[in-house]
């Protein structure tokens, strides 16, 4: 059931590809805008900050997409056919997949436009792993919040207002991981940050799994 739903979501993404395309364009365009604003390659710390901020806003953009089941008529149908916990697992996984792909693409864009912040190959792979882990943690938080604000009938604005403070612990861990990597710390000496991120996303995921049915029923 979960796999079917994820497949269905991905299929829907393929059908209306302009949705995903707009996210990709957002990531690319903001990276390019940063290049224009800075007028050159930034120093490693700035590079690190820019990377996480763009990832953050891409995640918010991605979470604010209107999924089919947020439309009232579809939601009533889903109510009778899909158990809520299956729903949240599928939504979070789908969101994580999309965000992981986007973050990989974002890292390419960053490397292309802003350079690689003096990182060696291993560190770049480490940075990519950090971005993927952050994407998963952000997805599990923002999926729950976007469902919440969709149910509240308030839309994107509420997701941003409620979400920004909530994701700060994640971003704090990610930035410290990234700043370690760009400062030349070896990947194996800062890998504990990835464990924290993993633990945080598992915790938030379990919490969402427990709480989502209460959001979903009416």
């Amino acid at each position: 059931m979960v796999f079917y739903l994820i497949k269905h979501h991905l299929k829907m993404d393929m059908r209306s590809f302009h949705n995903v395309m707009s996210l990709i364009l957002f990531a690319l365009a903001s990276t390019y805008a940063v290049l224009q604003v800075l007028g050159g390659k930034p120093d490693p710390n700035t590079w690190n900050a820019i990377a996480w901020v763009i990832l953050l806003f891409t995640a918010f953009n991605s979470a604010s997409r209107v999924l089919p089941e947020d439309i009232t008529s579809v939601r009533y149908y889903m109510h009778w056919t899909v158990p809520p916990r299956t729903m949240i697992v599928a939504r979070t996984t789908h969101q994580s997949i999309i965000m992981s792909l986007l973050s990989t693409l974002l890292l390419f864009a960053l490397g292309l436009f802003l350079g690689s912040a003096n990182m060696n190959t291993l560190s770049i792979y480490g940075f990519l792993a950090g971005m993927v882990f952050t994407s998963i943690a952000l997805s599990s938080t923002l999926t729950l919040l976007s469902a919440l604000s969709a149910r509240a009938g308030a839309g994107y604005g509420l997701t941003a207002v409620l979400g920004l403070p909530l994701i700060i612990p994640i971003i704090m861990i990610s930035t410290s991981f990234g700043s370690d990597l760009v400062a030349g710390v070896e990947f194996k000496n800062t890998v504990q940050n990835l464990y924290y991120l993993g633990g945080l996303s598992i915790g938030i995921g379990v919490y969402g799994y427990v709480l989502f049915p209460y959001l979903w029923r009416s």
Partner: protein, 356 residues
């Protein structure tokens, strides 16, 4: 009379807070050394001007003794010329022979009324000739117990370098966070109850009022903390994980109030805001209890610099601090009760309006 008996805890709260405020402003500070100014002349005589805090040097100045001590080695030099200029200013003169090892020296001062005062790294001496010391005849051995003593001063707050008088802020700053945690805990428990029994408007209102009062205490904690940061760290706000966590958790709970204001249907509002408040409580725990322990922090109590060690909280501070925690929690509970009654009345008026 029965009212008084029923509300005993409110009276206890007021009594404790009054006691705490009296103690905060009345208890004197203990003595300590603030700083030293060093001048070494050509003959190897070091003159040190020591400024101190809350000391009594003019009381029997002949009995004052001063020593320079090399860290961890037990080598000490006794001072041979002491002039007490005021109660808190002392001029010392030490004979430093050429053979003195190049190092930083700690200063110890024995005063009759104040006990032994200690100033780490008071003198850093670079000798002209760089030879390993062979002749240590000018020094004395390590100080005996009689030379280093603690004076029984009666009730006083301990002197701490850099913090000094602002230690009086402790019973006003730390209990704010304890109270906030307590109230957010009530909010957490009531939110669980809201989710368990559907249409439970009472527990939803309880969660709302406890979180409102909790935010108030969080803001008070931020304000007192900001004031304290100004005097000890030199800035109203510094970028520190503990401070960020505190600010962000207050922001998260403000989001709770915003979320409530966007939903008009009361049972849905109860359910959605309960889900959010459960989420917020866990993030609050992560932000204030877990995260600062993994990162470097200026704030005491985190990253291997414990807040409740014997150095920070001696018996006189404990005497004020624990009553302050209990007192503020009682006051917070009282405020929560009042807010709850107001909110329930508001709900009643609202539902009456809807009937008409």
């Amino acid at each position: 009379m029965s009212n008084i008996l029923k509300n005993w805890w409110k009276f206890l709260g007021i009594a404790l807070i009054m006691y705490v405020f009296t103690m905060i402003f009345m208890v004197p500070m203990g003595p300590g050394l603030l700083s030293s100014e060093v001048e070494v002349n050509e003959n190897g005589i070091a003159s040190i001007e020591v400024s101190a805090f809350a000391t009594h040097f003019e009381h029997n100045p002949k009995n004052i003794k001063a020593y320079l001590r090399l860290e961890d080695s037990g080598i000490t030099i006794e001072c041979n010329n002491i002039i007490a200029q005021t109660n808190s200013k002392l001029s010392l003169q030490f004979n430093l022979p050429d053979t003195v090892p190049s190092s930083s020296w700690d200063l110890l001062i024995n005063a009759e009324k104040d006990g032994t005062l200690y100033l780490p790294n008071a003198l850093f001496h670079e000798p002209k000739t760089k030879v390993e010391p062979t002749d240590l005849s000018f020094t004395t051995g390590d100080l005996s117990n009689e030379q280093v003593f603690e004076k029984d001063l009666g009730l006083h707050f301990p002197y701490q370098p850099r913090i000094v008088e602002s230690i009086r802020n402790l019973p006003l700053h730390v209990p704010m966070w304890f109270t906030m945690f307590f109230l957010m805990g009530i909010g957490f428990a009531q939110s669980i109850r809201t989710l368990r029994n559907s249409n439970n408007e009472l527990s939803d209102t309880k969660a709302l009022s406890s979180i409102k009062v909790g935010i108030f205490f969080g803001v008070l904690g931020l304000l007192t903390g900001s004031l304290w940061a100004r005097f000890t760290w030199g800035a109203w706000w510094v970028n520190d994980p503990q401070l960020n966590g505190a600010l962000v958790s207050v922001m998260i709970y403000s989001g709770y109030l915003i979320l409530r204001s966007t939903i008009s249907d009361s049972s849905q509002r109860a359910r959605l805001s309960a889900v959010y408040s459960l989420f917020a409580f866990v993030i609050l725990m992560v932000l204030l209890m877990v995260l600062p322990r993994f990162t470097e922090s200026l704030h005491p109590g985190k990253s291997g610099n414990p807040a409740f060690s014997k150095y920070d909280l001696d018996s006189s501070l404990r005497m004020v601090f624990y009553p302050a925690v209990i007192g503020w929690i009682l006051i917070g509970t009282w405020m929560y009760n009042l807010t709850l009654r107001a909110e329930l009345l508001k709900n009643k008026i609202q539902s009456k309006k809807e009937y008409q």
